[in-house]
Structures are given as C-alpha cells and as structure tokens.
Symmetry: C2
Subunit: 231 residues, 2 copies
DNA sequence: TCGCGCTACTGTGTATACATAGACGGAGAG
DNA sequence: CTCTCCGTCTATGTATACACAGTAGCGCGA
C-alpha cells in the first residue's frame, strides 16, 4: 500500500474517531514525522482530506480539522436527504428482490443484537451491508461517490452522538421498513420511510450534540475557574 | 497563484472543453513539461481531477480522461435531480424574494438574447447568476460543494450537446418558471418545475450524444477505410 | 515459427533540498 | 506604556534526485 494512502487512512480515521478534534492544526512536518512518511505523500493525504471537507485552510494558520456544529449537522442532513432519498428510489426500481428480502429477515431479528452489547458491532455491520446493497442496486457511480463521502462525515457525527439502545431499536424498525419497501419495489414508500428515518436520526444527533456542547462548556468553565484559583 | 492551481485549472478547462478527449493518457512528466511546472504540483492537480471524477486510473496504463457515455449522462442526471431539487426546495424556503424577482424579469427578456448569436454568452451568464443566487440562498456548504462538482461534469456534456436556439428558448421558459416559484416561496412548484426542466435537458443531452456517437463511428469507419486503402 | 524468458526502459512513488512568503517577537521611538 | 517597524524564523510551495515496479520488446530455445 502506498505511503500516501496509509497517511490518508490514518488521519481520516483519527478525525472521525475524535482523536483529532476540530480546530487541531495539522502541520506538514509534524504529521509527516508522526506517521513516519515524508512530506510529499503527506501533502497528498491532506489534499484528499481537504477535498473530503474533513480539513480546511484557516486563514494564515494552515490546515485545521473542520468543526462539527449544530448548523453543520443540519447542512449534512439536508445533503443526506437529497442523496439517500434518490438512492432508495433508484434501488427500489433496480433491486434484486432476493437480496433485500434476506436483509429484511435480518433486520427483523436485529433487536436481539442490539440488546446484547457484545453484538452491537454486528448490528452496525448489518446496516453497512444494507448501504452496500443499495449502492450496488443504484448502478450510479456519481451517486455512490457522493454517498461515500457523506458517510465519512456521518460516522464522525455518530461517534459524537453515542447511540443508545432505545434509539437503535427505533432505527432497526425504520431500516426494516425501508428494506421491505425496496424489496417490494415501492418507490414512494421507500422514499417516505427514508425521509422519516432521517428526520428522527437528525433529531437524535442534534439532541446529542447539544448535550455535548453543554457538557464541554461546563467542563471548560470548571477548568477556567480552577486555573484562576491556582494563579 | 500556485503552480498546482494553474495546472489544475488548465487541465480541467481542457477536459471540459474536449481538447483533452476521453481516453487520453495523462503522463506526469509529459504534462508537467507541457504546462511548465514540475511533477510535484502537477501530481496535486491530477489528484484533484481524480477526486472530481474527470480522470481515473486505468489498470496499468496510468491516468486517463474519463469517458462520457449515454450511461454516464444518465447517472449524472440522476445525481443532478437529487441535488438540484433539494437545492431549489431549500432556496424557495430561505430566499430573498427581491433577488429572484429581479432574475425573473431578466428571464422574461431572455428570448432577445438567445435570438442574437453575439448575446448568446449573456444568456449563459444569466443562468450562471441564477445558479449563484440559489447557492447563496440554500445556506449549505456541503450541498453547494456537491453542486459545483456536478456542474463541472455538466459543462463537459453541454459542450458536446451544442444547444440550439429552440432548446435554449424552451429552457429560458423553464428557468423563468423555477425562478418565479422560488421568488414566491412555492417549494413544491419549484421542485416540480426543476424535475421537468431536468427531464427535458436529459432528453436533449442524450439526443445530442447519440448523434455524436453516430458521427464519430462514421468518421472512424471512414478513417479506417482510408488507412486500409493507403497500406 | 511460436512461445517463453530476460533485459532494458519508462513511468510512478517517495524523499529531500531549496526558495519564499507570512507570522511572531523584540527593540526603538513617540 | 504602547505602537510600529524590522529582522528572524518557521512553514508551505516547488523542484529534483533516487528507488522500484510494471511493461514492452527482443532474443533464444524448442
């Protein structure tokens, strides 16, 4: 594997996993040394991250990890609705019914997975397989590319939101509805079910984000107070 | 301006202007020499073009200018519908009515521009200003980024389609309808008018493409015949 | 004559050296 | 004491040199 690919994957994973938090400055020599590559492949990695929107040039201060705010989540979900509604519409038209029937069966049993913390990863993997089946059915490279980039951002937001069992059980039902609609070739039902799913996911994400903001603000306040007391 | 930006702009413009035709191999040293930059900024330019989807790595043969086929145009317009319908929906919600009222007045007078070949560019510029007004109204960086990338591909297809006056007059009426719907804040009308506009634009683009394919095939046949005769 | 293998070469990927612009700090003047 | 200007220094942008892999072409053997 190329050094530039490794650097890109490493930085992207650290950003979506919140190890590199928004506002972190990514200096070329520093990151190149840390990741064990030279500046040339690292610059290529940073260029790709910039194109992805995970990193942006902040006037005069070099490249910074982009922010996640309530407003950016709103924007992200507006794009998500456009792309995913179109994707499920096309998937419902072009799908192989057997594939989505099989996935629907799995979603019916998903509540078991969600209940056991050790099987939580298996549920996320099931959702990923639904995404892959939709990508495969839409038969549209431009749309799939846009969806892949979108999902990178969504993972970052999801890591922040910390799904709870209640929300996951809800989402399993929503996914089941979407999957059945695609299997049945019901374009409008698939689109409406997706709209509903995204509406609820946005509410959940925004709620979690507000909590995080509040918590962060409080802990910052506390730190500041301690610093003042110490000085 | 940076050398990598110049190289990117030069290559992109040549690709969308069909000076670099699909299948052309872009070797690094060759292009670097031609554009008067070193390999480093040129590689950055090629990476950006690859991310844009204007260039792709063909197994073993290096980077090639991507193809434009009837199928790729179909895919492009499926993505276009998703993005533009969402964009006009959001624009109709968030617009400044005065901006779109002014644009609507200009579209009413557009038939004059289309009639005179020397003012043809002025009509395209008017459409570009409508796009810019929509971008400004949607207040969504992710969506605008996706639209900008999409438009690059659309320009390449349009250069192929060679709009005629009849189609442009039709499109002016469609644009007027969309602009008025946005000005009035009529979300569903704006979305439906956009759907209709894209449907007609696709028919036109596909028709033009088929003609080009037929012409190319004929000229290729002719060339082959000549070569055989010569040898 | 056909097939297999070897060699040379071209082109990509990476490292590094160099140029330059912009930011930060210090010193001096008002 | 503060503001401004100048110098230095750090970080980015570019060029180039080197390493290596993949390929094409040629030659040799069957």
């Amino acid at each position: 594997m190329r050094a530039s690919d490794r650097a890109y994957a490493a930085l992207r994973d650290e950003i979506i996993d919140w190890q590199l938090t928004p506002g972190t400055v990514l200096a070329e020599v520093e990151q190149a040394a840390r990741l064990g590559v030279s500046r040339t492949p690292l610059r290529e990695a940073l260029a790709r991250l910039t194109a992805d929107g995970l990193v942006a040039t902040q006037a005069g201060r070099g490249l910074m990890v982009t922010d996640v705010s309530a407003d950016s989540i709103r924007q992200l979900f507006e794009l998500r609705r456009a792309l995913e509604e179109q994707a499920v519409r096309l998937a419902a038209t072009r799908r192989d019914p057997a594939v989505f029937d099989a996935l629907a069966l799995e979603f019916e049993r998903a509540s078991t997975l969600i209940g056991r913390p050790e099987d939580r990863a298996a549920y996320y993997e099931l959702v990923a397989r639904l995404d892959a089946a939709i990508d495969d059915s839409v038969d549209n490279g431009y749309l799939v590319s846009a969806l892949e980039n979108l999902r990178t951002h969504l993972v970052r937001v999801r890591r922040l939101a910390k799904d709870n069992a209640a929300r996951l059980l809800e989402s399993a039902v929503e996914h089941l509805t979407i999957t059945r609609a695609i299997a049945d070739g019901d374009v409008e039902l698939a689109a409406s079910a997706t709209h509903l799913h995204l509406h609820r996911a946005l509410q959940h994400a925004l709620g979690a984000h507000d909590l995080t903001i509040a918590t962060t603000a409080m802990s910052h306040h506390g730190t500041t107070t301690l610093e003042r007391t110490a000085s």
